[in-house]
Symmetry: C2
Subunit: 140 residues, 2 copies
Amino acid sequence: MEQRVSVISLGVADLDRARAFYQAMGWTEGSGSTDDIAFFQAGGLVLGLWDRTKLAEDSAVTNSEGWGGVTLAYNTRSRDEVDEVMEQARAAGAAVGRSPAETFWGGYSGVFIDTEGNPWEVAHNPYWVIDDDGNTLLGV
Amino acid sequence: MEQRVSVISLGVADLDRARAFYQAMGWTEGSGSTDDIAFFQAGGLVLGLWDRTKLAEDSAVTNSEGWGGVTLAYNTRSRDEVDEVMEQARAAGAAVGRSPAETFWGGYSGVFIDTEGNPWEVAHNPYWVIDDDGNTLLGV
């Protein structure tokens, strides 16, 4: 197994609402999207939105309510960009879980919760590099 | 907001057990890993393992038991590689959620559940491209 992730599938309660949220965040759907599923080319991986009940069945798991242990993060190139993205998310219908502030690990971040309940940390981490292609790279 | 994901954080019940699982899958930890957190450079993003209770608190969510709507996938370059990765995962301590078989969408996939309960689909999708850098690209 190579050390990489190909797809992040988010199971959603309301696909139209979820599509509208990510579109409002500036994302554009890619090839293969249908009435039942939305695919976004997100850097080197695919982010998919699909009915949560169907995704649970397809994933061979029981569909619990609430958060199940996975948090995504979007890392920015500046502190100001954290504030900007958090405001964009709020305007698009996300809940603000944690307002932007300095963190215990020396960065600056906030958390928004998307319309389907998925938390996204929006973070500026001065120890990591975001290259011109948008890859997030651990320090050396 | 650019159309990309920087970090996938998996909240784990037993960090030593989770580390051992991903190491057994052939993954090597990167810079910044400590006794409390494991970071893996996974293509253009970072996959992190952290205590699930702490991650829930940091993510401003309630820590539910079970699956919370997110499934990861690892896409292979061949059908045979699906079988190989599923067998590697089983040997490393994962549960087999769904044995490899042809799928309704024209591919071939199985699902393993890692030691912390996270489902991974292992899939060969003939309509998508995996480039030499390991990026998974939607068709055009």
